[in-house]
Symmetry: C2
Subunit: 407 residues, 2 copies
Amino acid sequence: MIINAERLWQRLMRMAQIGAIAGDGVNRQALSAEEAASWRLMIDWAQASDLEVRRDAAGNLFVILPGTDRRAAPLLLGSHLDSQPTGGRFDGVYGVLAALEVLTVFRERGVQPACDVVAVSWMNEEGSRFAPGMMGSSLFAGARALSAVRAVTDEAGCSVGQALDALHRAVPLALYACPHPPAAYLEAHIEQATQLERAGATIGVVSGIQGKVTWQVTLRGERGHAGTVPMAQRRDVLRSFTAIAQRLYEEVGEADPAVMLTIGRIEMQPNAPSVIPDGLTFRIDLRHPDAGQLTALTATAERLMNEMASPCDIEFTRLSEAAPNDFSPELQQTIATSAGERGYPALSVLSAAGHDARYLATICPSAMIFIPCRAGISHAPEEWAEPEAVSAGAQVLLDVARRWSGL
Amino acid sequence: MIINAERLWQRLMRMAQIGAIAGDGVNRQALSAEEAASWRLMIDWAQASDLEVRRDAAGNLFVILPGTDRRAAPLLLGSHLDSQPTGGRFDGVYGVLAALEVLTVFRERGVQPACDVVAVSWMNEEGSRFAPGMMGSSLFAGARALSAVRAVTDEAGCSVGQALDALHRAVPLALYACPHPPAAYLEAHIEQATQLERAGATIGVVSGIQGKVTWQVTLRGERGHAGTVPMAQRRDVLRSFTAIAQRLYEEVGEADPAVMLTIGRIEMQPNAPSVIPDGLTFRIDLRHPDAGQLTALTATAERLMNEMASPCDIEFTRLSEAAPNDFSPELQQTIATSAGERGYPALSVLSAAGHDARYLATICPSAMIFIPCRAGISHAPEEWAEPEAVSAGAQVLLDVARRWSGL
């Protein structure tokens, strides 16, 4: 079975007209009028292929190819339709439309799997209007409580609950009694990095999503004249910072080859050439694919900060903390095999960014299929994936779904 | 002989009305209409005491108590009348009015020294309107060429030459045929630091002005995603910066107790939490009272920057370079003795900032008398010196001038 590459591409470009912004970008934020319009388009396409359309209480949209046993655990394929305020035409929407393409081809070929095969769009993956992101998938996985999520508000004071209710009034759909947990989950997505591009690979077999801890750190010292305060009396925040950073780079950054340690942001006060600085704030971004190692490195980083801050004062808070997860080895193997049979160069890659699959992986065997995006650029109007990669990723998604379903 | 403390204070406050700005500050920049007004006030006060008033081609103002031998090398006392755009009521003007007070008391007492005793206001010490500063004193000392200085322009395109000619048209004065070099130079000034305040001293016997080298340094690396570029492949400018800074603090900053090393300004690009930074600019401020040691430390700093920048690229330029200078030991001793006789607690201090005395010291025995200023604040409307310190500094200036003149 071969996907209809032309139809998939046309649908991607058609969907990009909803919320289109300058430079071929897209502004289709979670639970917005634009997302409602994207639901209507999905419904039109689904109904044209005689597929069911449903929703759940969390604002997740389900397009369903019914299986022979409606109570069997379903196979979910999906991603998200929402975008960043200055998003591109591929992030998220690609995985949803690739999933719809798989169901459409199954329907055209008249195959009926044993369980429901479902294309899902998860509510608010991006987290730009309502923070944090991955709301729909985390609710589906039971990691958050609906009442707490509904209480989150955007900058205008509108709550998720209000926006959800408005969406469901605007686009009325029956509830999907999804057998829980699902049997498996597959998500196709642009890589948002350059591993595939640099390796010349078309398919990324995603081994997992690395864990990540970020800190905001503030150092406080004492301001003084660069020409009059003896070095031994100084409480120079930049000196404490460099001492901390050097030890972090050495003891955390080089702990093993999988560590990613970045200090990407630094702000100093008063930041004047001849004044000993007395305030410094910086951000640390630490990532690792292994949960145990990430926990150990987190402790090491915090110990070093406390040890090396003297004679300045230090305060730090963890801004975010996400454990790493591994995707299903069986599904990874199936993706690699399918790519190989189609002649697509494939590469095993670790995802640096979070995805809805992170939450699905906590309740069922899950995996992701990456395709390269130009220069790794994402969350920007310049985001671009080659049509050949777009069709290859969807074809592998179909092949894996078919193989998994025994069709 | 005792100075008239009340007159000196009233003159300071009267002069502060010229160019007064909010918060008791002063904006009386070099060669401005405000500086011309301050000249007229000086001339009024000088002529009321039957003192001569002259100028030179460099825009320096001279108030002269003629000596018995007009061709003898004169004793110069002075500082500057110009201020920063947001200056205070003491920086510079204090030394000029203290000098005028000495001459006024000498005149009132009817003493006549062997040589001219001259109160001088040097042109453009601050360097805020026309850069660099200390123009008048450096021209007087022969360290710069008048034609080059006249060609310097301010932001509005007005040259020093035009502004000088306008000042001399507005305030016509005869030229002073100053015997060159002078016999000695004394400058009273607020400390602009906190050594005296912290020690509870009223008089600072300035041992010299420390030398200073400043650099602008730029590091260039490679931008990348915090989650995808292996540490070993990174060209992270912040990591190179911390390696450089740590070595500088250790090998230059701790070379001896007199070193002052400050990195006060740092700018990073793109300065985003999850992006490996690829651009970083910072400023180094290195000071030392010993010329040989400053030269050696300068070489060490540049060697370390070249050694430690890898894998990033580095470029640095010296923004300024001023050798240290020592003031006359004899004059320092005379200042200390005079302070002691008056019962003023005195402290030997090194000047962190540059002053006109730096240039005078290259042509004649020179020295400076510091008085404390509150919290070391200067170049700001909050600049403040206690009336007791103001009169003490002027009294010591008079005592030293008298002792030096054998009066």
